[in-house]
Amino acid sequence: MRPGSSRPGREAARRLSAGKWRAVAAVAGIALAAGLLAGCGGAASGADALTITLYNGQHVQTTDALVAGFEKATGINVSVRSNDEDTLADEIVGEGSRSPADVILTENSQVLEYLQGKNLLAHVDASTLARTPAQYDSPQGDWVGVSGRVSVLIYDPALIKESQLPTSVMQLADPKYKGMLAVAPQETDFQPIVTAVESAYGQAATLRWLDGIKANAGSHVYPDNETIADEVNRGAAAFGIVNQYYWYRMRAEIGAASTKSRIAYFAASDPGYVVDVSGAAILKSSSHQAAAQKFLAYLASVPAQEIIANPAKSISFEYPIASGVTTLAGETPFDQLKPYPITIAELGTGTTAVTLMREAGLL
């Protein structure tokens, strides 16, 4: 083709190619070294001090503050593994007796009830359980309640007036709210509401209600409560059902000026008005039982509860429920809430709720 130009060019290209060869060899060497480094990185810490492993399904910032407080108070290190709480439970079940986890901290009681049902949890010290009111602890004494929160409506006043909001959870299925409602059926926080409705009205009525919710939500089916709060605040949906603290967290994050949404409570004792409990448990398989018990005792203690009570420390906005500590956040005090009377045991593992949601096509 162009024979004249080929020879010197070929030589240059060959040299280039050899250079690249060396470059690739170098990269491969670096790769190995980096891989080894990354692999060993985890093992370097905590050779001298005792370390327990915490599987964390609670908001990372809150856990971060609690763990820091515990480490400072006891000198015991906590290695934290964060993920969705149900995924962590699946992992623990898969790991069985070899589970690296010593403690699990969750946002909801259902996960702990599930692990308790699988006989994977150790008993919590009675002195720790005594710090939290009995109705917020495991009925069997296998986990301790740490904090609480309550379900509310979040709404955009530009799209719906407060007076037009439903006062009962049953009205969420009313066709007049078509296209206005946002829900997060995959969110663990939604199950207790379905369970409460089921306990109040029975399965058939609950199923009809879920059908109505599905129709009303349309495309406003979101993966989690944070997304509902965000979308309602941006005016994408008129209102949604979330736990109260998501709204407070969002307001703290984006500022009061950008928070165009508001929250409203259901009527007293309505099945939509549910208190959820976040708790912690010790794995039976843990080889650090004493340190793990110390961690749970700390979570229910005054210092830890004060961290939860103070949004400046934990950005939590959950209610402290143990050791008599009350929240410092400007929200309806815990003892003034009028929730639907349903016990932890009745909330159970939420499987009935999931089955019903599947039948209704929400899952």
Binding site: S6, G9, R10, A13, R14, L16, W21, V24, V27, I30, A31, L32, A34, G35, L37, A38, G39, G41, G42, S45, T53, H59, V60, Q61, D64, S79, V80, R81, N83, D86, T87, D90, E91, G94, E95, G96, P100, Q110, Y114, S219, V221, Y222, P223, D224, E226, T227, A229, E231, R234, G235, A236, R249, A252, E253, T349, T351, V354, R358, E359, L363
Partner: protein, 538 residues
Amino acid sequence: MASSQTLPRSGTPGAPATPPAGRARRAQRPVFLIAASCLVAALLAMPLVFLLFEAQGAGASAVSHLIFRSLTANLLWNTIKLTVVVTALCAIIGTGAAWCIERTNLPGKRVWEILIVVPLAIPDFVVSFGWASLWTWVQGFRGAVVVMTLAVYPLVYLPVAASFRAADPGQEEVARSLGVGRFRTFTRITLAQARGAILGGCLLVAMVMLAEYGAFEILGYQTFTTEIFGEFSLSFSVPAACALSLVLVALSLLVLGGEGLARGRGRVSRSGPLVARNLPPRRLGKATLPVLACFALLVVLALGVPVGSSIYWIFQGGTHALSGVTLPTAALTTAGYGIAAAALDTVLALPMAMLAVRGTGRIRHVLERSSYLVLAMPGVVAAFALSYFTEHYANGFGYQSAPLLILCYAIMFFPLALVGVKASLSRAPANLDDMARSLGQRRLAVLLRVTLRLALPGLAAAFCLVFLSVVTELTATLLLIPTGAQTLSTQFWAYESNLSYGQAAPFALVMIAIAAVPSYVLGRFFNRSGNVEGISIT
């Protein structure tokens, strides 16, 4: 071949002077390659085997109950609709951009060809975060189309640009000289020559779409994969999630089959093999300004918005940084995992790529095609599969360790490595190997000195593609990462999922910066590959 004996040989001293005829024939059946490929295939099959185990454990009636429920039809429609639209848009944008850059006198080509590829470095969930955090209309189907198209079109652009560069220009000249119009020459010759590359790119896009999670979660769009994640994170229903995943596998089989049919049996041939010769670029003339405007718009949308919104959120500030893991530590960990997984994948892809390129047998074909299935498997499935196997068959050995996570990455992104390695091996004709062997070179020497050297650009491309994907991986990472370690994406997730956009943004920016390096290299190598291959023959 008689002359070969008179040539000086640089082989090792012990080598026989002339390879006996029998040995040469035996080399036709690459037993080693087939064995190595089967091993790799077994590794890749692990997620699928896990799904079948779990589904079987749940029982046939339970699984069919889970699959045939009202939601499935919804998800099916959502997933298919989105995959088709995004793949088509990517094909148009990717091919159009490649043609303008490779075949016209577009001003500033050097700059465009880099800017066009860099969006590949931006994690899909960062793109959707960028768009959705600024505008409310970016959600649901509309949002998913915009975000995903902008995030993945380089997967079409890269192979198509390379194929335009390598294509035989003679055919176009002949067509034109025979009086075929410009447009018809473009559709009948130019596009036909690039068909394989376009289809290959579309295949990657479609598979990535099927497995995408993070972006859709942020956009609130329900697909099979978001629902699978929902099931994994809901009421402990691993079997339910696995049942849904099987539907996803079926979908990806359909995509694979469709691509195979569309590809057909046609082969692109060249008159003079591997002669990289360039056509004089087409003059854009009056179209220059509009085309430039289109390129600028594409770069602003695909690159400007996510980067800009990240910077915007940093300036908005945020509350509460998490203690413990700093940005540099997370960046180092991420880079380490990425490099290790990319190196591993590049090596693993070699035998299968050689088989695929050098042979036409059915088994080789099935081996290679089946490896693509893994691309449509959500990361969480691969991760659960690996922890399942370590727990059940390895006594928990390696569980939650870095090597296992790296292996998981290698499995998940293997097809990307395969594409790169295969593309450049296919340019190194097999008879070149035979020639080298007949010249007395040992097989290993042939591999190192001829085949691999020719495949070098492809190896680099494969390495970079895998590295990019690892840097932006989230869901498998969350499951398998050593306790206490954090990557850029897990930290981003920790902040973003708590609406701490100001804290999340720096992690997004560093992710983009780290991944921009390999995507730049990727662009450069795809550019030079023509030259490097040119030398081998002329």
